[in-house]
């Protein structure tokens, strides 16, 4: 039986087309794009092309606004630390939410610990939404940056970034959004949404691991966090990862094609999964909102009385790859900070399961999954001292 890969929010396979686009840049077209000879000019050209493609899928018409990085994490780090260091004379206060990815949260903590910044971590409601009014209320005279993610990686909540962007613009505060999970899934326009900085990562959209990008609106200053050579207009040093960048460009281009249609199909599978789980298993909690404000590929549920890692292991033995916000898989003692932030109790949060759909999934896989999940849950609940049956 073919395995079912339902962990596309963790990473995705490189698509064949993307790999074909990257291939020449390993052994043949290998020149360092900073040099001036023929071998270099062909890679410099390839990077320029990729830059335009990436700019275009987020609505930027100036490819110089794109800085290539080593991934979503570096993009988040550069945006937050870079802006903070550049604006620290103006103020040392940052606003973010309590359900951001660790790349954002730990960048904020780094600024708190090493550079004396203050950070406000806004709460979210039971579906994971940040309230734009809370953002406005949190603004102080010394607020220099607001960073709120576009869509949450665990529970799929799509945040009201356009509204938050407008508030930020009105107060002359830079607005960064971590769009790693959103790019290629929902429409994005940095101008309409008043976004000043935006992070994305190639391996979440069938591009390669180890490459991402930060959009930086023209005129927004930041202190480079990778110090060294003059690459990326002196904003990000290090020899360019040419095949990676080419792969990101191609992946962006492909993701943009028929995005609406593809997302609609994914949403159908998502809704069927939710329905099938809720209909056949009792004491299930859906985490995150229903409908349009949920990422089309995201399902996140808690099964009471059992623990997430054991669900994952059982699913793996049954041929399904998925993930959980249980403490055991997060590498800490607490379960996911996102699940706790939406108000779940620890013991419930331990039993979470995230299914994230991707380009390769089919409705047949969804049905196959729905066949097997009740048995897995049942087996574990039979073992659980918390379950009364």
């Amino acid at each position: 039986m073919e395995r079912i890969y339902f962990d596309n929010a963790a990473t995705t396979p490189v698509s064949e087309e993307v790999f074909e686009a990257m291939k020449p840049y390993f052994t043949e077209k290998f020149g360092n794009p900073s040099s001036i000879y023929k071998e270099a000019q062909e890679t410099a050209g390839a990077i320029a092309e990729a830059r335009e493609k990436v700019a275009s899928i987020i609505g930027s018409d100036d490819e110089r606004e794109i800085i290539f990085t080593s991934g979503g994490t570096e993009a988040d780090n550069l945006a937050i630390k870079g802006v903070a260091m550049a604006r620290k004379k103006k103020g040392k206060h940052i606003i973010t939410s309590s359900i951001e990815h660790h790349a954002v949260l730990h960048s904020c903590e780094y600024l708190e610990k090493n550079l004396g910044f203050e950070v406000t971590y806004l709460p979210v409601d039971e579906n994971g939404f940040v309230n734009p009014e809370d953002v406005e209320d949190a603004i102080r005279d010394d607020t220099i940056l607001i960073t709120i993610m576009m869509a949450n990686n665990e529970i799929g909540t799509i945040e009201p970034v356009a509204e938050i962007g407008a508030i930020a613009r009105e107060h002359n505060i830079y607005f960064h959004t971590d769009a790693v999970q959103a790019v290629g899934k929902i429409p994005i326009d940095v101008n309409e949404m008043n976004i000043d900085l935006l992070s994305l990562s190639a391996h979440k959209l069938n591009g390669p691991k180890g490459v991402g990008a930060l959009y930086v609106r023209k005129g927004v200053k930041l202190i480079p966090q990778m110090s060294g050579g003059a690459q990326e207009r002196k904003r990000r040093a290090s020899t360019e990862n040419v095949p990676g960048i080419v792969g990101l460009g191609k992946a962006a281009e492909l993701a943009a094609e028929n995005m609406e249609e593809k997302s609609k199909k994914m949403a159908e599978m998502r809704d069927r999964l939710i329905e099938g789980i809720e209909d056949n298993i009792d004491e299930v909690i859906l985490n995150g909102p229903r409908g349009d404000k949920r990422l089309p590929g995201n399902v996140n549920v808690c099964f009471r009385y059992i623990e997430g890692e054991s669900i994952l292991l059982n699913l793996d033995m049954n041929g399904v790859a998925a993930s959980s916000g249980s403490a055991c898989t997060s590498g800490s003692l607490d379960p996911s900070h996102v699940l706790l932030a939406i108000g779940l109790e620890h013991e419930v949060a331990h039993g979470s399961l995230r299914l994230s759909l991707g380009a390769g999934n089919t409705m047949e896989e969804v049905e196959r999954f729905l066949e097997l999940i009740p048995g897995v849950i049942d087996k574990l609940r039979m073992m659980s001292p918390l379950y009364e049956g």
Binding site: Y305, E307, L313, L333
Partner: protein, 133 residues
Amino acid sequence: MYSDKVMDHFNNPRNMGEIENPDAVGQVGNPVCGDIMKIYLKIKDNKIEDIKFKTFGCGAAIATSSMVTEMAKGKDLEEALKISNKMVAEKLDGLPSEKLHCSNLAADALQDAINDYLNEKDKENNVSEESNA
């Protein structure tokens, strides 16, 4: 990540379930941490005649629970008390380092159950002594 032995015990747990009218019950962990192990004992002539477990927890928690029941079954209480978490982990061909301290508590649950039994017996003895007095 897990050894084959762990996966075997996780997948086909031995002695899973409850004992009706057990002679002793032990429990460690709490749901907040994501691990609860409960051990039920049937004891006869100072020997563990039957043992069952129920566990809420990760793969390591379930496998160690299963393993400890297998190790304890048929042993007399003094011997069973000597089973340590470390011995359980070794019998499972090791556990990932990050699991060694959080989910490797099954021996504690067993000890808790045995102590529960011995305390009860102590009390009974005390009661009989008292009535003898």
